[in-house]
Symmetry: C2
Subunit: 428 residues, 2 copies
């Protein structure tokens, strides 16, 4: 029976969660993976800091060399986050024959190709289930059980913070700032919420998912990103009255021989399986040519859900070590083009305030018409004495065409304000 020696880089929330799981089920690991698992080293900045989870003395170290040069350590669990020195550490560890488990979406979304090709040369595993959707099994199912499919579309609610904020805004009529503040008070959002709120975190996750789903390398820079800070309670009210809710969606698809990948708020029909994914829950909806529609739902963050995915990956590594095989190889065996955002076709929800005069609607409609933007529905509501609010939903049109029309409409003297433009997903 193998003895597996593990080193954990970083001992924050998730690292301590991993040790909790390993300690709790200590008697089961031998049964579960036919090997003994020991956490031999944990890399920290400060060994003296008070922590919830206790380790035997001598396990914590501040010295990376002590870990990477220990030939007994077979597996590195990387939970430091960030790009450097993490990237260098992982590359060095692979070259020294260690297998890697990581939850680092930032690193994978930017340097995935380098990491995976280094793995291949080193004949070592790199697993990263925890990098997307926390504890939800999504990367391994996409790489294995669903591999018979040509994946057509992946739509994810992959950021719990923004989903919590939008749920609060929807259910309690709060505005964005108040809902964000509540999320911060509850620990769902960080003091600097930019990465979550502006969609950057979701974009990194979508880069990873799209790479796997479409077998082509997609990086963070390929993803079009818009956050949720412009969404107002009024948008949510209009959406609901039309049979939709608003979610921050990651949308990736393969069409016209190009990969589309974008993160932005979107209206989604209330009967769509993603519409009922609330609070800090995540879900990833996958459509394949054989399997049809599937969805994977659960906790997208948090100590124990993330640790669950990390330890699941650790067991996969241990099984590979037992059988002397590598199961985690890169699946980006094609090179597909990324569709420019201008070329993306979708439906749009548009709110604009115009002077309440005869001929205004005709004027605007003719500008849309000239750009090939056709309207599925228009609702007009009197706002104040001489300003009317128009709520428009378009048929499927090209992003560039709607942006060009709005450029013109914005400059009309009859236009008071283009209040919001939100894409619509899942409209037939």
């Amino acid at each position: 029976m193998n003895k597996i020696n593990v080193a954990i880089l970083g001992f924050g929330t998730v690292g301590q969660g991993v040790v909790k799981i390993l300690q709790k089920n200590a008697d089961q690991w031998v049964k579960k993976c036919n090997a003994e698992i020991e956490v031999k080293k944990v890399l920290v900045k400060n060994t003296q800091k008070e922590r919830e989870v206790k380790l035997p003395s001598g396990v914590m170290t501040t010295d990376w060399q002590e870990i990477v040069n220990d030939p007994e350590i077979n597996v590195i669990i990387e939970l430091m986050g960030g790009i450097e020195p993490t990237r260098s550490y992982i590359l060095e560890a692979l070259q020294k024959g260690k297998h890697i488990v990581t939850a680092n979406k930032d690193l994978l979304a930017e340097h995935g190709e380098e990491l995976l090709s280094t793995c291949e040369l080193a004949d070592r595993d790199l697993y990263f289930e925890a990098s997307v959707g926390g504890g939800i099994p999504i990367i391994n199912p996409l790489k294995q059980s669903l591999l018979a499919n040509n994946i057509e579309k992946v739509i994810g609610i992959v950021n719990g913070t923004t989903n919590f904020i939008l749920t609060k805004m929807t259910n309690e009529g709060k505005n964005f700032a108040d809902a964000l503040q509540e999320a911060q008070q509850l620990g769902y959002a960080e003091a600097d919420p930019t990465s979550d709120v502006e969609g950057l975190d979701a974009a990194r996750k979508m880069a990873i998912l799209a790479s796997i789903a479409f077998h082509t390398r997609v990086t963070f820079n390929d993803v079009y990103v818009e956050g949720i800070s412009k969404i107002s309670p009024e948008d949510l009210e209009y959406a609901h009255s039309l049979g939709y809710t608003i979610k921050l969606l990651g949308i990736s698809s393969f069409e016209d021989d190009q990969v589309e990948v974008r993160v932005h708020p979107a209206l989604i029909p209330l009967e769509h399986p993603l519409a009922n994914v609330n609070d800090s829950f995540n879900a990833i909806f996958v459509k394949g040519d054989a399997v049809g529609e599937t969805m994977f739902y659960g906790r997208g963050a948090g100590q124990m859900p993330t640790a669950s995915a990390v330890v699941g990956d650790l067991i996969a590594v241990v099984k590979d070590i037992n059988t002397n095989s590598i199961s985690s190889s890169c699946t980006c065996y094609e090179t597909k083009k990324i569709k420019p955002m201008d070329e993306v076709k979708t439906n749009y929800f548009l709110r604009l305030q115009v002077l309440d005069e005869p001929g205004v609607l005709a004027n605007i409609a003719s500008i849309f018409g000239a750009h090939g933007v056709s309207l599925a529905s228009v609702v007009q509501k009197g706002c104040t004495e001489n300003v009317a609010e128009l709520v428009v939903i378009t048929h499927k049109v090209r992003e560039k065409d709607i942006q060009d029309s709005l450029e013109i409409i914005r400059k009309l003297t009859i236009t008071k304000e283009i209040v919001n433009l939100i894409r619509v997903e899942g409209m037939e």
Copy 2:
């Protein structure tokens, strides 16, 4: 590069779906699994029958010996169904060194232990993702990504036919017989619908899921089963007015050192993730001590979804052949007791008709009280002149205690009829 020769046993809907997938993506298999895959033989009863999918001449055969004695055939995909001769064929094939992929829930739920121990002796793979939840990846995620967890509960909507019927009854107020007839007309239910409607199909799937979730052998006979034929539109109306819907649930949990496993209709709160799983969709809700609540959703049956899971398993076998390893071993490394149904504790929804007389409610309440059955809510409705309908929801009580109380209540002269007793799941 390996050449993998596959034989398919049975060439019905799913078998043809498998060949469709293999033909459609012919150029991709080498990239996806670094091997060439060929369907060398297909076992049928009648080679002359007209079929949608065409095979090269010489592939179809009626002779099992021709397949099992062909040393070039590495993998058998078993889609014949039923217990015999399927069981003997699989055992023989394993002994002759062939790997197995199967969708046969009947066989696994009754003879899983024999098949998996034969695999171990023969050092061969047996994968069966398609046996539960059609195309939904659930067995592999439970065996891999979620393995770090102690699973606490698995609740599944694992039969599409009954979910379709209940959805029709809920949304259109149809009675059971009419909804069943529609399901039969649309091909969702068979001419003899017993196996679906009486919960037997779901029970087989729950035996498989419980075996994996709790690492102990659970067979079909261990599962308590009740079907949906007694559910009426009135039950659904009452349920909705109380904030619930009714689904045929497979429920398995580990508590008090015993495994509970049962299939029956149950009220479930409208806000539960399973409540919105409608039509012929399936979903499996898994609660683990680390990951918390997760759910897996998709098409639980049909040609292409099932074929998706089968081909996913085939790729897993091919990867194992490539690396000369076995990844599909049995995970039932413990022996846990099955809780007798009498000892199960849950909430109950009870409808009974009683004479509308003073003291009746007190009389019934005192019988419940004597058996330790405490009531969470009681609604009384006048039905006809002198008969009242009582709708009761209980706190968590033991199955035996509620059954014993009803035995006594049934015999009271004031009791006209015990209309229905339905368990409640997910009540706090």
